[in-house]
């Protein structure tokens, strides 16, 4: 691979990596929200019974 | 419109009188700007041109202005006066104009000392440079006052103000340096005038949103 090709690949890969990183961050956020919601559902259910 | 002017004048006068009595901000600004110039002398290598020194003058001006701006809303914050001011029947923009005029007065006063000091330590300044300084002062005070009002509502206000202000000040520095050491001062002065006009209008229109709850 020539130098030019290497830098070209680097530029495209950086953008790709950024999108993937974003995906990871959003997935973590969704997991956290799922956990929060489960916790709150439990809280509401206990309140409803108690 | 005369109500606006009268309110603004009254507010500016209040700030100036407060400063006259307290004598905190202006002496600090004067001392700071002269000290900064001396530091620049030691920071520049011997063979550097006048142009480099001209650039550094603008660094000194911008940071001295920041000093003044940081103090601009201090009194208000410390005594909850800003809320009271906002409740007064005057147009919010009058608060902006009044404050900006007060800061402008301090900045010009500091420059009355700084520019001769610069001419003494480095090189003479021509008329274009002086006009540039005045035009830049208008821009600095207009934008700086609004941004100071934003910052004062938050935590870490002394840290936040330079961060908010400096990117907006970059075009002013470019125009100012161009007027001081550039080849075509007229273009730089025109640019500074454009900056002042656009941002003055923007600040005038948006100030009330920044200070009302």
């Amino acid at each position: 691979m020539s130098t030019g090709e290497k830098y070209l690949a680097a530029a495209y890969l950086v953008v790709f990596a950024a999108v993937l990183l974003y995906l990871v961050i959003i997935s973590l956020k969704v997991s956290r929200l799922e956990r929060d919601l489960a916790e709150l559902t439990e809280l509401a259910r206990r309140r409803g019974d108690g | 419109m005369s109500g606006l002017a009268a309110d603004a004048a009254a507010l500016a006068r209040k700030d100036l009188l407060l400063e006259l009595r307290a004598r905190e901000t202006l002496p600090a600004m004067l001392l700071f700007v002269v000290t900064a110039l001396v530091v620049f002398h030691f920071a520049l290598p011997a063979d550097v041109s006048d142009r480099a020194a001209g650039g550094l003058l603008w660094v000194a001006i911008v940071f001295t202005a920041l000093l003044g701006l940081t103090r601009a809303f201090v009194a208000e914050r410390e005594q909850g006066l800003l809320d009271a001011l906002v409740l007064t029947p005057c147009d919010r923009a009058a608060i902006w104009i009044g404050k900006a005029l007060a800061v402008l007065a301090f900045l010009v006063a500091a420059e009355v000392v700084a520019l001769p000091a610069y001419a003494l330590f480095f090189t003479e300044l021509d008329a274009a440079a002086i006009v540039g300084v005045l035009l830049a002062d208008l821009g600095i005070c207009a934008v700086g006052t609004l941004v100071a009002a934003m910052a004062v509502a938050g935590r870490a206000r002394e840290l936040l103000l330079p961060l908010l202000f400096l990117p907006l000040a970059i075009p002013i520095v470019v125009g100012g340096v161009g007027a001081t050491v550039g080849d075509d001062p007229a273009r730089s002065l025109a640019f500074l005038a454009l900056y002042d006009a656009i941002f003055a209008i923007l600040c005038f229109a948006s100030f009330e949103y920044v200070v009302t709850e």
Partner: protein
């Protein structure tokens, strides 16, 4: 009512379009678009660098538009929309700086060049919008923060042309340009490829924007729910909302 379910066909279309356009654009850029005579294959960085830059501008512009709507109507929802748009713009802005830096390195052997106007402009904007986030973190949530953020976002878009003029002024009068890169005289195939890549990037930003906005809104509602549950004995309608 979540914006997601309200226009669910829309919701699926944007990421699909983004994927399709970006894949097509990548293919065109690598295999179809002609190689530049002077710069060689590295010129093709253009197809990712410029669309990313334009998408960043679009993000800042969209954020300013939503900010204006907030100030005009006072409706709270515009605050999150403006914030998310500015966030998108900043992310793409950073990508612009990185891809631009890579391009500078391969073109001139240096990672940074003050004579690259777009790069310098984005540096200034990056600093400006980073301060936007500092502003938001520094103020407590509420109308004051919403309005100050909105005004600052508006200042940002005004700063874009003014900074550009300033950079040109600086170049002409104080910093003579050392390197220049002639913009490619775009042939039709180059232009087509560029347009596809641009559309793909904009679609990508749009898809990310919607996802992030939905995430922020859900966050808000979960917080609200938490407060409701903590504050008073549970009521029937809260139970139903939580179960659905």
């Amino acid at each position: 009512m979540s914006t997601w379910s309200r226009n669910s066909s829309w919701a699926a279309a944007v990421p699909c379009a983004a994927a399709a356009l970006l894949l097509l654009g990548l293919g065109l850029a690598l295999f179809w678009a002609p190689e530049d005579a002077d710069q060689g294959i590295s010129q093709k960085i253009f197809y990712v660098h410029v669309p990313v830059a334009l998408t960043a501008y679009a993000g800042f512009g969209w954020g300013a538009w939503k900010a204006l709507r907030l100030l005009w109507t006072g409706e709270e929802r515009y605050d999150l929309e403006s914030y998310t748009a500015v966030h998108m713009g900043t992310i793409f802005g950073v990508l612009t700086l990185v891809t631009g830096s890579i391009w500078a390195k391969v073109s001139w052997g240096v990672w940074w060049s003050w004579s690259e106007r777009q790069l310098v402009l984005f540096l200034i904007l990056f600093l400006f919008y980073s301060a936007y986030f500092m502003l938001r973190y520094s103020l407590d949530p509420g109308p004051r923060r919403q309005r100050s953020s909105a005004v600052y976002a508006l200042f940002g878009v005004v700063l874009i042309p003014i900074s550009f003029l300033a950079i040109r002024l600086a170049e002409d009068l104080i910093h003579p340009v050392v390197f220049t890169r002639e913009g490619p005289q775009m042939s039709d195939s180059m232009f087509t490829t560029f347009c596809v890549c641009l559309a793909g990037m904009l679609a990508l930003a749009g898809a990310l924007y919607r996802v992030e906005l939905a995430g922020k809104r859900i966050d808000e509602r979960v917080r609200e729910l938490r407060e409701l549950l903590a504050a008073e004995p549970v009521r029937q309608h809260v139970l139903t909302e939580v179960r659905s």
